[in-house]
Amino acid sequence: MSNSDGEPVASAKIKVVARDVNVFYSDKHALKAVNLDVRANEVTALIGPSGCGKSTFLRCLNRMNDLIDGARVTGTIAIDQQDIYLKDLDVVQLRARVGMVFQKPNPFPKSIFDNVAYGPRIHGLAGTGAELEEIVVTSLKRAGLFEEVKDRLNEAGTGLSGGQQQRLCIARAIAVSPEVILMDEPCSALDPIATAKVEELIDELRQNYTIIVVTHSMQQAARVSQRTAFFHLGELVEVGDTEQIFTNPNHKLTQGYITGRFG
């Protein structure tokens, strides 16, 4: 169904390859034979109506679906040619490689420093306290938050504004040096200014990470992404360059969805 299958992409490196991915929740077929290539150092937006499977697909990429009772994933998903659904693959390691940012800003009820330091601590990424501090500062800087919070690293992360909290969550995710960052509607709880800041950040982060973002805002997909994939009823209907999807989508369903012609 997608138009990019087998289409040779000469210049861009492919980071994530999904082939014939199916997801079942008990007897519900939530994702149907999805084939999708995600290019490295690009932002790929997943759009589609609620319950279309875009979040499900996102959660396949760091195996968060494993946590749901009765969830079953078939097909193959590979990151850098390594199948992430192999039996002996360490999920904890995978989640260090594939970071995730959630819909609602969800800093831990701990200090700003501890929020960012948590990942490096449990993965043992810092040998000394000074190293840990450096990781925290670098991550906060990359997330564009350092200047705003440098004087209050020991205050609660939950005391920040919504947009700051979300950037703190992004800092927390990049503190473990992931290769891929998954974002599940990262701006849906934020005001327009905070949204703009996070979108700007996403665009900057593209230099170093491969980003996949689920969004309900078509404008956001158009603004931040290079590639857009449209899901409907568990199927990947169409994937293509964002510009093409938003000016001249190939599929009638995509057209109907992005122009607001069906619920």
Binding site: N62, M64, L67, D69, V92, Q93, L94, R95, A96, G99, M100, F102, K104, P105, N106, P107, F108, P109, Y118, G119, I122, H123, A156, G157, T158, G159, Q165, C169, R172, A173, V176
Partner: protein
């Protein structure tokens, strides 16, 4: 808007709407009045209950005592002069009291009068003197003014619970009444703070019966209960909530735990009797066994409370931790448990409060025995506060009536302290949510 909005149907008129609005407000007010009266009723019952108990019980915190000049006469107590504790322990301290009383009332020369004199004092007053001497041997040979407990009838008379004359239920002869009046006017007879209530174990004599044994027994039982049921309950709840996959098996476990919480506690007592006493052969009447039985009683409550507290931790906390690559155990110990702790602690303390008031299982494992000594370890025989209340309430002596209420007051204070602890812990652990 200047135009009138057309009503939807012809029957809807402004007057009709207003009338219905008035009715709705009236129902509102009715409901509020109902709620207020329910609270008033509940408060009335509570005040009535507390009022009765405190009204009956506060006098038990005082005890009528007579100040006597006691001479620790070595010739009576220690004729050999060797200071042997065995000899001192069995000496006739009652004679010291009799001598002192006879000095006060030299006119009492007849046998009957002398018997009347010794009826003034509690039969346990000599034990008080023995305790003093054993604690401080230097008293030997000296004369001290010492407050000693009166007998229960005198105590009741002083507190005004019984009348002076026979018609009023008094049991005293004129001579006795005269002596009592003289002691009072001399300032030798007064109601003073009842230290025996807090230092003594149970006794057949109301004036000597204390709660120390019951309090310590309850404390030991509770200690055992906390040490067992908190870790067990939390571990079970964490496993069921965070680790176990939803299956028929966990459903069965869940239903059974909920059922156990509703099982009458006497059943747990029977279970404790059979397993702990008959099979394991643990000592009868011991707080250890009481604590084990109370663990059985409170465990379901704690598991249910802990599961509710864990369920109340928002799922995004788990997702955030797992998405960063935390293992399940790290997720639970670093994030979920600290957030659930206030709820778990509250649940635990409520479970403990239930356990501390529990009588039935303790009756079954023999903690209802008459125990005079304050238990030193959890395996010594003991009673518990609610059992003590039951025992005293069943005693016929007039002096036990006020003591029963006093014991209830102590138990209520115990509960109040525990609830205060629960509130304090919850406030301390409570975090602000983002």
């Amino acid at each position: 808007m200047t135009e009138m909005v057309e009503p939807l149907t012809a029957s809807v008129t402004v007057a009709g709407v207003n009338a219905r609005l008035r009715r709705r407000y009236a129902v509102d007010r009715w409901f509020r009045a109902l709620g207020v009266s329910a609270i008033v009723a509940a408060l009335t019952f509570l005040i009535l209950l507390l009022g009765t108990i405190i009204g009956q019980g506060y006098t038990a915190f005082a005890q009528s005592q007579i100040r006597l000049a006691i001479t620790f006469d070595a010739a009576i107590l220690d004729p050999d002069g060797r200071g042997d504790p065995a000899v001192l322990g069995t000496a006739d301290y009652g004679r010291l009291i009799r001598q002192s009383l006879e000095t006060l009332f030299p006119d009492a020369t007849e046998r009957a009068q002398r018997r009347e004199l010794s009826r003034l004092m509690s039969p346990g007053a000599d034990l008080e003197l023995r305790g003093m001497l054993l604690a401080d041997p230097s008293l030997m040979g000296r004369t001290e003014e010492i407050w000693l407990p009166t007998s229960s009838p005198v105590d009741q008379l002083v507190k005004g619970h019984t009348g002076r004359t026979a018609e009023e239920g008094g049991q005293f002869t004129d001579g006795e009444l005269r002596r009592i009046d003289r002691l009072r006017s001399d300032g030798r007879l007064a109601a003073r703070f009842n230290k025996w209530l807090f230092t003594q174990g149970d006794s057949r004599q109301p004036e000597l019966a204390g709660l120390a044994g019951a309090v310590v027994g309850s404390f030991y039982s509770l200690l055992v209960t906390v040490l067992l049921s908190f870790p067990l309950g939390v571990a079970a709840a964490v496993y069921l909530e965070e680790f176990a996959r939803q299956s028929r098996w966990t459903d069965i476990v869940e239903v059974n735990i909920n059922n156990l919480a509703a099982v009458p506690s006497i059943v747990f007592g029977l279970l404790g009797l059979e397993i702990f006493l008959n099979v394991l052969g643990l000592p009868r009447s011991a707080p250890l066994v009481g604590g084990l039985a109370l663990t059985l009683v409170s465990l379901p409550t704690i598991i249910i409370a802990a599961r509710v507290a864990l369920k109340a931790v928002p799922p995004w906390v788990r997702e955030a931790a797992l998405a960063l690559g935390a293992s399940r155990l790290q997720m639970v110990t670093h994030h979920v448990l600290p957030l659930a702790m206030p709820g778990i602690l509250t649940g635990t303390i409520i479970g403990m409060a239930r356990a501390v008031g529990e009588t039935a299982p303790l009756l079954m494992i023999g903690m209802v025995a008459f125990v005079v000594n304050v238990p030193a370890t959890p395996v010594d025989p003991a009673t518990a506060l609610p059992v003590q209340i039951y025992l005293w309430a069943a005693s016929p002596e007039r002096g036990f009536v006020e003591r029963t209420s006093a014991a209830i007051i102590v138990l209520l204070c115990f509960l109040a302290v525990m609830n205060a602890a629960a509130i304090y812990l919850r406030k301390r652990y409570e975090r602000r949510w983002g």
